[in-house]
Amino acid sequence: MSRVLVPCHVKGTVALQVGDVRTSQGRPGVLVIDVTFPSVAPFELQEITFKNYYTAFLSIRVRHHPSAHTPAKWVTCLRDYCLMPDPHSEEGAQEYVSLFRHQSPSMTFPKWLSHPVPCEQPALLCEGLPDPSRVSSEVQQMWALTEMIRASHTSARIGRFDVDGCYDLNLLSYT
């Protein structure tokens, strides 16, 4: 599949900060770069390549036109993607970065679909084994009866005073 460069127009950075730019001190931490595509023909974006210059985290939002009738909406493709593991170090500060489409989370399936629970399919039973559902039914009833009798015990004592069936006075226990 051949890849085609899409002509785009990168606008100047705009600092996001609260308050007046001129009067407040300090430099803002978030900058926004707008990228527009002058060509009208629809395309599927596969890859974005750029060279980093001391940006630690990157978020990409795309204005998505699903069709001609529905209004366009903004979709976050990438959120806080880490370009520099340690913002105070040099690592990743001036790297070339390629971002691919599959990295965008909006393109992936919902989590529960992408990780189906591995269920052990019972292998084909050997010939001659009894029907498990009927066996299970009987065993469950037996278990229930045992549980019932375990639960229903009387605390009444019969008042025995002998030890091992013997009434020898010297061996009387006080149970």
């Binding site: 009833q141 037996m142 278990w143």
Partner: protein, 302 residues
């Protein structure tokens, strides 16, 4: 001067008429609307009065109540047995002649108590408890040569009879009886009596289920089962019972999941697939070992 209202003479006479006792006041029949007040005492006896006098009304009422409580599958046969047992209540020769011996009386009492205990299935707990109380009173009633109360010997005899009549093999129930029987001389209170009889009936049902289970496991041609299969099933049940030893409520979920068809199928598959078949397991052995799992959970009398 105010005068107190005097009750109408006719109403007063009516109450007096009603109170004249020719028969015991009816308990089941509502005939307050009937003009019985016009009858003079002892004159014409209606059929109703006759039935009431000989006690048939009360007897039939009690019989119908028993049927409603027990809900038997064959009500006619049930009623037949009921009336047959009624005859045991009063001495055959109405008091004249030699009264039946002590041994015969004891057997009669046992028979009657057994009959009461079998009226309702143990799962119909309210009816079963009622019957237990009646049976206990029947056995504890004092007689000419018998002191009131239930002694251990009669109680143990009753338990043996329950198990024997339930067609459970002796070697299967013997360990249970050893646990719940009482010494001959001991006085058995009602709570112990109830617990013991309930345990016996539940064991009988357990053994019946185990027998049905064995029929599922046994080879088509022979009356024995593959030892690996039988052992796997018993081990699964034992494991589930052990899982429910812990106190947390989640134990039931765990035990239940072990006994589900999928997990049982896996256990059976695993048991058969690796080992050579050993000596086959007989029905008697299977029942005995299954019952042992049940009896292990029974609290002994003490």
């Amino acid at each position: 001067m105010a005068v107190l209202p005097v009750p109408l003479p006719s109403a007063k006479m009516a109450t007096v008429e009603k109170r004249r006792p020719t028969v015991i006041p009816p308990t089941g029949f509502t005939d307050s609307g009937r003009p019985s007040v016009s009858q003079a005492a002892g004159a014409t006896e209606s059929e109703e009065d006759f039935l009431r006098q000989v006690g048939v009304t009360e007897m039939l009422r009690a019989a119908l109540l028993k049927v409603l409580e027990a809900r038997p599958e064959e009500p006619i046969a049930f009623l037949a047995h009921y009336f047959e047992n009624m005859g045991l209540r009063s001495p055959v020769n109405g008091g004249a002649g030699e009264p039946p011996g002590q041994l015969l009386l004891q057997q009669q009492r046992l028979g009657r108590a057994l009959w009461h205990l079998r009226l309702a299935h143990h799962s119909q707990r309210a009816a079963f408890n009622n019957n237990v109380t009646v049976a206990y009173e029947c056995l504890s009633a004092g007689g000419r040569r018998k002191r009131p109360g239930l002694d251990g010997r009669t109680y143990s005899e009753l338990l043996r009879r329950i198990c024997r009549d339930g067609r459970a093999p002796d070697e299967v129930v013997a360990p249970l009886l050893r646990k719940v029987q009482c010494r001959d001389h001991e006085a058995v209170p009602l709570s112990v009596f109830r617990a013991g009889t309930l345990t016996c009936f539940v064991l009988l049902e357990f053994v019946a289920r185990a027998a049905a289970l064995f029929r599922l496991l046994q080879e088509p041609a022979a009356a024995v089962a593959d030892r690996r299969v039988g052992q796997a099933v018993l081990d699964t049940l034992e494991g589930a019972l052990r899982a429910s030893d812990a106190a947390a409520p989640a134990r039931f979920l765990e035990a239940g999941s072990r006994l589900g068809p999928d997990s049982l199928a896996l256990a059976l598959d695993r048991a058969v697939g690796g080992r050579r078949p050993g000596a086959p397991m007989t029905r008697a052995e299977f029942l005995e070992r299954a019952a042992a799992l049940f009896i292990a959970k029974v609290k002994p009398v003490g």
